[in-house]
Symmetry: C3
Subunit: 345 residues, 3 copies
């Protein structure tokens, strides 16, 4: 790939790694994908765009300072959790969830430390999951995000608004009149909400960013969003929550993870991924209710729980062809490499 | 054993595995034990009996579809968590906890998916616990059960009643007049509640099912029920909760797990098991209170927590003789094999 | 060391191990440190002193009965979690948190069983963390402490008071007038609260106990207390909570763990430890709020979460020099041994 030229560049390298970090949120180790996604976030709000960039820089820089494994840094793996931590902390403490408010100086220090801890926790959770050949996914972000969001309201120097965004299906009116925008806005938002962007157009732009690097991943993301909508509608979920993409964003991530990235895409693993999509859709509601007594958002924890539950035990299932995290490049490459081996053998 | 004939049968094999799956809930890898237990559940309610059978079939079939390890399937290990998931989801969404209401079509799909996920999660949790030579126990059921029960009330297509059954000691009147039925009904219910059966006669029938395969396990189950009642009475627990078997069902499972099944039964391990019974009795109340803000039942999580806490570190204690999960057959066999080895050596 | 004479003594050995167990709460494997700390606790309250001694004896005796590894027993490692469980259960069920009330006979049995389970759980959690070369820290205490504290109010035979001590920043008035006693009392209490002692003079006495064995650890403890106060003040935390040492006690433990004990003290690891102190200060508030729906205290869980998050992944960071738990003696020894190896090589 021509792009790898930047990855090794003494000056531009860091920018390349940071952009890959943004792409890694949706499993795309590609700086161009990252750039398009950064653009999509800026399209929705310059606040979120700026914070996303700060987050990914802090995470990657922390790993450099601690002399982490170069290849992990160069593939953006220390950046993606930190980027999400930054955006999430701003999103859930802003007066207006949609556009975000730029954080105070105190809050910026707080966010930077959270982003640094997310990079450190990525190393720890990767070590914990290592023996099972399963990736840390966004668990570092979820745990660090929760811990820092819990505490933020308890310091008078941080002027945080209330949680402005409904975070649980209970907070939506039980309306079940599904209309056309439920569908096209819901699908776009299901992708946008991965980055906490309540903007369906930004969602479709992110989808383009994914497609630049992997057509299969983009296809699975779309299937994830559509199937999760179908399930939510079939089970009579509140229209507002569906339209906001809340039932879908965990399902979209599960779809990409199981549909080609960590399992070679075959007919069987496709249905396995669809099962994961259905379960992720239901269980978003579940985790939301579990967290409601403390008023915490779900983040992408449902995706991590379902994907871990379906991947950790994969070596016990001969019907699936697992891809070790270190070898997972793109869904297309995984397929070529693994089936190539079969053909030649 | 003559019975193994069915285990290998091309047609009857599946039924054999499913019945073993029912038996595995109480550590009995024996289709006859499974059959007696199915009978005991049907004796209480045809709804629960039917759901139990559906659950165990879905779990075992999922494992077959995913081409899981044959010997695990043939020993019923993919069925027992799925069976419990089915019964628990019906029990805690029925108007009448005791008899259960037959689920709607939507709910049946939902339960079948939960049962399938429980089988997949069994493989994952087994992989996680594998390096420590400790079994997954009913943790897959507890986690999947909680996740699916949280969400069920949030879909208008599923007409779920409120949680009809008190799930925490706080919900019982603080009556401490213990009478004769506190004892004989409490002991029976302590065994019945393992399958969420509020029927003390069904409990004694299940005990017979256990005794068919292992006299030691049946004895430990009875000791577990009696000791847990003694502890609850000595510490002044509410009479209603004791009579309903709520203080006892986790203790009964702990008693069987530590008393011969995963540790060779010796004088020392017997007292270790009694300690586990006492702790399980207290900590049921604990987990109930922990879960009360979200209104979730304890299921058999206390048993898993206590048993894991007392088994994971077992290799550090020379006073105990651990039995690796793969070699745990019956308490009697474990004793014979392990002490036999000592005699011969 | 002359003191090791007692460690091997047939009669006095057990006392030596128990005193080391008290010292191990603050990472000091030294009976004299333990003795000074016992004195500090008795200085505050004979009730807490007595319970601390009972706890450490029960934990160590449990390990002896189960024939655990002799060297772990002899270094006090089976005692420190049990000691804390005892003190915590009394502290949070006493009418007066500061001085404690002596428990009833029922409660004593209950505490002794909790202390025994903590020793067993120490073995289990050590086994779980073993592959990652990370110690169990006080996690056994935190988990067993929570489980037993949840249940205690549900038994009429145990006459437990309400939780008399505020356990979350929400329960303090939002006063932010910091005065001189905020500082010197806050620093002392930050050390005292590790043992749930609301007495700043006892805190400074404990610091002396630490200094007897390791000047570096004592220095890091002091730095931990001071930095955590600075952070809490800078972010406008409630004055009462700071003065009570609540923001600091987890930070003090993190400071000692990362500052020399489990990582060789270098300029880099010093800043790593300071980062850990800052994060621990914030996240105490976080865990407090997470636990507030069930009214549970934080104990030292924040310290464990932060230290684990920062140590489990340490092998991925070449900037740090990890010390395996089995080789961690004192911060001074770790430094000598590790840099000695470098010099010679």
């Amino acid at each position: 790939m021509k792009l790898s030229r930047f990855q090794d560049h003494p000056t531009w390298g860091f920018i390349d790694w940071a952009l890959r970090g943004v792409g890694q949120v949706v499993f795309q180790n590609n700086p161009l994908s990252g750039l398009v996604i950064v653009g999509a976030i800026f399209y929705n709000s310059w606040v979120y765009g700026t914070i996303l960039v700060i987050g990914v820089i802090v995470g990657t820089a922390t790993a450099c300072l601690l002399q982490a494994d170069r290849s992990l840094i160069r593939n953006g793996l220390f950046g993606f959790n930190s980027a999400l931590v930054g955006v999430a902390l701003v999103a859930f403490t802003s007066e207006d969830f949609r556009s975000g408010s730029f954080p105070s100086a105190h809050m910026l220090v707080y966010i930077a430390c959270a982003a640094a801890l997310a990079a450190i926790a990525f190393s720890s959770i990767s070590a914990l999951m290592g023996p099972h050949k399963v990736a840390a996914l966004t668990m570092p972000f979820n745990l660090v995000g929760w811990l820092f969001l819990f505490a933020v309201l308890k310091f008078s120097s941080i002027d945080a608004g209330p949680l402005a965004k409904p975070v649980s299906p209970e907070q939506y009116a039980m309306v079940t009149d599904y209309v056309l925008p439920t569908w096209y806005m819901g699908i776009g938002n299901s992708i946008g909400q991965i980055f906490f962007q309540d903007n369906w157009i930004a969602g479709y732009l992110i989808l383009i960013g994914i497609a630049i690097n992997s057509r299969i991943s983009a296809g699975m993301a779309l299937i994830g969003a559509i199937v999760s909508e179908l399930v939510a509608v079939a089970f009579g979920a509140p229209e507002g929550a569906i339209r906001d993409g809340l039932y879908g964003y965990n399902a979209v991530l599960t779809a990409m993870a199981l549909g080609g990235f960590f399992l070679v895409l075959t007919v069987r693993s496709f249905f396995y991924a669809v099962f994961g999509i259905v379960v992720s859709t239901w269980l978003w509601a579940s985790v939301a209710i579990f967290l409601s007594p403390i008023g915490m958002p779900v983040f992408t924890s449902t995706f991590v729980i379902v994907t871990w539950a379906m991947l950790i035990g994969q070596h016990g299932f001969k019907a699936l062809v697992p891809v070790p995290p270190a070898e997972a490049t793109t869904a297309e490459d995984n397929r070529r490499r693994m089936s190539g081996g079969h053909d030649g053998g």
